[in-house]
């Protein structure tokens, strides 16, 4: 671990922190265009964050320490998650600390803390949202793990950097198993980031919301941190998708030239992924909460079939 790899790591982290609200703004803009509305400005999420950071944080009387520390825990886990996902370069010192399984665990940690904090205040909406979030979470997690396993079967390692290295360096090979994994991953990403078929990120309608119900009690800088963390999570998911299914163009080392080349490629791919997400959201209708288990079970089964197809077709 030399100075240059530490610099790469820092660059990647700062990039994720800075670009995440922009990505959210871009997706909102695409969605507004597709739905024939006038779009908000691209930097609207930054404005929102600044406004929230300036505002006073109100905390309920009966809130415990857990309620106050949760925003920091959630933000910290999301920042760590985006630090270990290779985006610009695969030369990441932190990546050896956590592999794909630990990454799923990190997302789970944030979810558990958010749900506990929502139940901490004792309002009806908070506990309802927490229950729903856990329902979605425990169904999405195994599917996400299976997606990771499909990719690690190819490279023989669960470390994300190794997976990306193997996938991006070899000559063009079509893996039918990964096609299944990609569809499963799209479903999981929609569910985990509270996007339209499962949850509507722009609604405050009490009976349908999941994510908004969890953070209803937060205000000021706490809310700002949580909003920032959700943007980070969305970006982390898109980056995982890029890393597993379209890893071409990523820099293998830490040479400035290669990284300078990888950066616009990443921004282009993120923009494309965001537009695709907005399109998916516009095309689908919000489903009943009781349909969500079926939706996510489909993702799990697709990922398992992907594994099976890989084992059937690619024999050593």
């Amino acid at each position: 671990m030399n100075l240059r790899s530490i610099f790469t790591q820092l660059l990647e982290l700062v990039l994720a922190l800075a670009l995440a609200p922009l990505l959210t703004g871009w997706i909102n803009q695409c969605r507004a265009w597709l739905q024939n509305k006038s779009a908000p400005a691209l930097w609207q999420p930054y404005r929102l964050l600044r406004k929230l950071f300036y505002k006073e944080s109100m905390v309920a009387d009966n809130a415990s320490l857990l309620f106050r520390t949760t925003p920091y825990v959630v933000f910290g886990t999301m920042a760590l998650a985006s630090a270990i996902i290779p985006t610009v370069s695969t030369n990441l010192p932190l990546a050896s600390a956590a592999d794909a399984i630990a990454l799923v665990g990190l997302f789970a940690l944030a979810r558990v803390f958010l749900s506990l904090a929502a139940m901490d205040i004792g309002t009806a909406f908070g506990s309802m949202g927490a229950r729903r979030e856990m329902l979605v979470g425990f169904l999405a997690e195994p599917a996400l793990l299976m997606v990771f396993f499909s990719a690690s079967l190819i490279s023989g390692s669960t470390s994300l950097t190794t997976i990306v290295d193997t996938l991006s360096k070899q000559e063009l090979v079509i893996y039918p198993g990964l096609a299944f994994a990609a569809v499963a991953f799209a479903i999981v990403a929609l569910a985990e980031n509270a996007r339209v078929p499962v949850d509507n990120p722009s609604t405050h309608l009490e009976l349908t919301m999941i994510h908004e119900a969890l953070i209803l009690e937060y205000s000021g800088r706490h809310l700002a941190l949580i909003e920032w963390a959700s943007s980070l999570k969305l970006m982390a998911y898109l980056c995982i998708g890029i890393a597993l299914f379209a890893p071409w163009g990523i820099a293998a080392g830490s040479t400035p030239g290669a990284m300078l080349l990888a950066l616009p490629v990443l921004v282009f791919k993120l923009g494309l992924g965001g537009a695709l997400l907005a399109l998916l959201e516009t095309l689908s209708a919000k489903m009943r909460i009781f349909r969500v288990p079926e939706f996510l079970a489909t993702a799990f089964l697709l990922a398992v079939i992907g594994l099976l197809v890989h084992l059937l077709l690619v024999r050593p």
């Binding site: 079509i174 198993g177 089964l301 079939i305 099976l308």
Partner: protein, 219 residues
């Protein structure tokens, strides 16, 4: 180049399996017909690619036939039938969808295991896809078993023919032309007859539920 094209055949086979699974998990009849159309188109592309890789021009003919029949003519006829019967959005299943999909996974594992020793014997480009073809056939079987209404059963039957066709293409580079033409004609005539049959069932029982057919005499 050729190895990449062989992988493309594998990918198209995987796509067929994915579509078969989507058909199992689909509730609405219109979407079912659309998925069937996509399956037919995928099958035509897969056949054409196998034909190109192995330089067997007669496979182009059967690809064209597949495209014409299974991606255009039959879906058109099915759309007409469900329009006339007013069942575009009908929702029905015998077993609930998640359990059907779980059974489907078991079926896929069974089919893959069954196909591995067979595909070891075969030396064709796409021998690995035999398991996928077998899984498609069995999944269509499953769809016919778990559906109560007549139209999804017809679609299941047609999807099963798709799977068989893919098995023939991947294991032996297609059947002799005469057999293929015969089957294509059979399927077309089968659809027409089943279409007439559907109207008859509807007229007799005021419903397309085939459980009505279990009673042999009027009460």
């Amino acid at each position: 180049m050729n190895s990449l094209l062989a992988q493309l055949v594998n990918l198209l086979g995987a796509l067929l399996l994915m579509l078969a699974f989507a058909m199992i998990s689909q509730r609405r009849i219109v979407s079912l017909v659309n998925l069937f159309t996509m399956q037919g188109a995928t099958l035509a592309v897969a056949t054409a690619v196998v034909g190109y890789v192995t330089r067997q021009p007669h496979l182009y003919l059967s690809a064209g036939l597949t495209l014409l029949l299974k991606a255009m003519l039959i879906p058109y006829a099915l759309h007409r039938v469900i329009d006339r019967l007013h069942i575009r959005w009908e929702v029905e299943t015998l077993i609930n969808i998640p359990s059907t999909m779980l059974i489907g996974i078991g079926v896929v594992i069974f089919a893959f295991n069954l196909a591995i020793p067979i595909s070891h014997l075969s030396s064709t480009v796409a021998s690995g896809t035999l398991g996928i073809a077998l899984a498609c056939v069995l999944l269509s079987f499953l769809m016919m078993i778990t559906r109560a209404k007549a139209v999804p059963q017809v679609i299941g039957f047609l999807a099963m023919e798709n799977g068989l066709f893919f098995a023939a293409t991947s294991a032996t580079y297609g059947m002799p032309m005469v057999v293929e033409l015969g089957i294509a004609l059979d399927v077309l005539v089968g659809v027409l007859i089943l279409g007439v049959f559907l109207f008859q069932i509807r007229e007799q029982f005021d419903s397309l539920d085939i459980r009505n057919l279990e009673k042999l005499k009027e009460d």
